[in-house]
Subunit: 335 residues, 2 copies
């Protein structure tokens, strides 16, 4: 194992104390450790997470998603300021598996959400980079725990880019908010099947000027559609509203709905039940990914799979037999 | 390996010849071999599947699902007869992972679909039993290949019982038909999230007598809802109709839509693309299940997991660290 130490690292205890005391600079540096792929940082990150774990969890976790162009950044900026005005501390994280291409988020936190980023009670962190969605999601989820331990009692996790990460965000948040635009049709192509049914709330954004009537119509359509679909285990009936982030109309109502939701699910026990499920599922997702990595990471397996795929398409071998054959190869590789 | 031979088995070649010549008795006996859990039968099944593979695939595969009480059996009976009247041969299979409890389907093929089962061009086979959904799905999918090789050019695969198997059925069929009842609400609780978005067609069944008006209203609601949701890669816009299976109204229209669908997707290339994807996915599903079986089948792992789950819920260990620890245990077990 390569065990070289990264420059400028503090001791584990210094990170832990800094995070627990709400020191923003140390929080940022701790998240950098979490995001790092250096082996020495991974060990350091484990110690930090393990120590702050009991102090984590005391926040409302909100997932925010929507296709590019829906106005997510503007919405989050206005929404974040509103929450802060209610006396909360807000952390904003994002999941963007595509950002690995540029090794970092395309737009830094300074460019996006300019007004919000100057506020003392807001903490904005662009997406971690990583090789796999699972890896990126792990880093974001662990960063979320650090933010909570640092005293942020509302965490927004946004998906950036076009939708692969919605399920990951849904799996680590309490409330799932979907931003949409009126004039359904082309815009919807970016929304993957199944996303709509995860939504606890749909906000038709950009409902201003000439768009108001169209937005109200879209609201009714979505409201009807969501009522037809099966109810969530949470007992919450998804709400559809319109909003204009630029005119600051309807954004406060989103927070009101989230407050209502939280009251409901804390009372009926779903809040904790869901959190526990998420944690357990998080472990199993990591296990299953590691197992796949063990298997698909092998060179022999990869080349054999390519050959089998061709044979399957040519109807030369049944998919079941192909799977059995390659699992035998895998087992023998351990002997 | 236990290698005892089951009684009354034919040679592989006898099964292969019988199936390919469309002999129904041999087809049934071949499916019994596919469904068997005896090691000797598994080897025999492999040889049969491998030999008939090139003759399989020439059918329209239709998945039929809906909550209990929706009238699935009656619908399939009337629908099957209509297809046969159009000159087709119809095979009807089912996926019912719950049937393992009674080691066989609760209602045999003779009781259900009585009229259909007497027809020369219909082949009805109750669900295979098995320990896992994946195992049952494999058996049904391989039975489907046998039916195709025996000349059945329409295969209906129905889900029996309450919904876990819809995704499996969707993954092995060309067209996914969802039967619903008017008066949305309670009935919908049985439909899992995401099922609706898989449907190529929704039929509001029992649209007769006092139910006609309510059914037409439901039809409009579902039609609107489905139009709002993202379009399928197939290029097909899901259709919603009403039908009364008992009065034989609207059942023929279902076949008309399926014919339209098939024409569209054969022409635009989705039919073959989807079939190839399904075959490849089928192999990977089997591989991933086998990997999980290797891992979770170990006694040490199982007891360690129970302990870790408790620690995770008590916030004593992070899910990521828990997963890393147990994967290390797994790797060491091979050393």
């Amino acid at each position: 194992m390569t065990n070289y130490k990264a420059k400028n690292r503090l001791t584990a205890q210094a990170y832990i104390d800094g995070v627990l005391s709400g020191n923003r600079v140390i929080l940022s540096r701790a998240i950098t450790v979490i995001e790092s792929n250096l082996e020495s940082d991974k060990l350091l990150a484990k110690d930090i997470i393990q120590a702050i774990l009991p102090a984590s969890g005391n926040s409302v976790r909100i997932g925010v998603t929507g296709v590019p162009g829906v106005g997510k950044s503007t919405f989050i900026e206005v929404f974040g300021k509103h929450i802060i005005n209610q006396g909360h501390k807000v952390a904003i994280l994002s999941i963007d598996p595509s950002s690995q291409r540029s090794k970092g988020s395309i737009l830094g936190d300074k460019t996006r959400m300019e007004a919000l980023s100057t506020l003392e009670s807001a903490y904005i962190r662009p997406s971690a980079s990583g090789d796999t969605l699972g890896g990126v999601a792990n880093k974001t989820a662990e960063s979320m725990l650090l933010c909570e331990a640092a005293g942020y009692d509302v965490v927004l996790i946004e998906t950036v880019g076009v939708g692969q990460s919605e399920t990951a965000v849904h799996g680590m948040t309490d409330f799932f908010l979907l931003l949409m635009l009126a004039g359904a049709g082309d815009e919807l192509q970016g929304i993957k099947k199944g996303i709509m049914e995860m939504a606890d709330m749909v906000v038709i954004n950009k409902a201003d000027g000439d768009n108001i009537k169209k937005s109200e119509l879209a609201r009714l359509q979505y409201q009807n559609a969501l009522h037809i679909f099966p109810q969530s285990e949470s007992g919450w009936m998804p709400v559809v509203t319109t909003a204009s982030s630029t005119k600051n109309i309807g954004v406060d109502a989103v927070w009101d709905e989230i407050t209502k939701y939280t009251e409901l699910v804390v009372k009926n026990g779903y809040f904790n039940k869901n959190r526990n499920h998420q944690k357990i599922r998080w472990m199993y997702n990591n296990i299953n990914e590691a197992l796949k990595h063990l298997f698909y990471g092998s060179k022999d397996i990869a080349s054999k799979l390519t050959a089998l795929e061709k044979q399957i398409i040519a109807s030369e071998i049944s998919p079941v037999k192909a799977a059995q054959d390659i699992i035998e190869t895998f087992k023998k590789s351990f002997e």
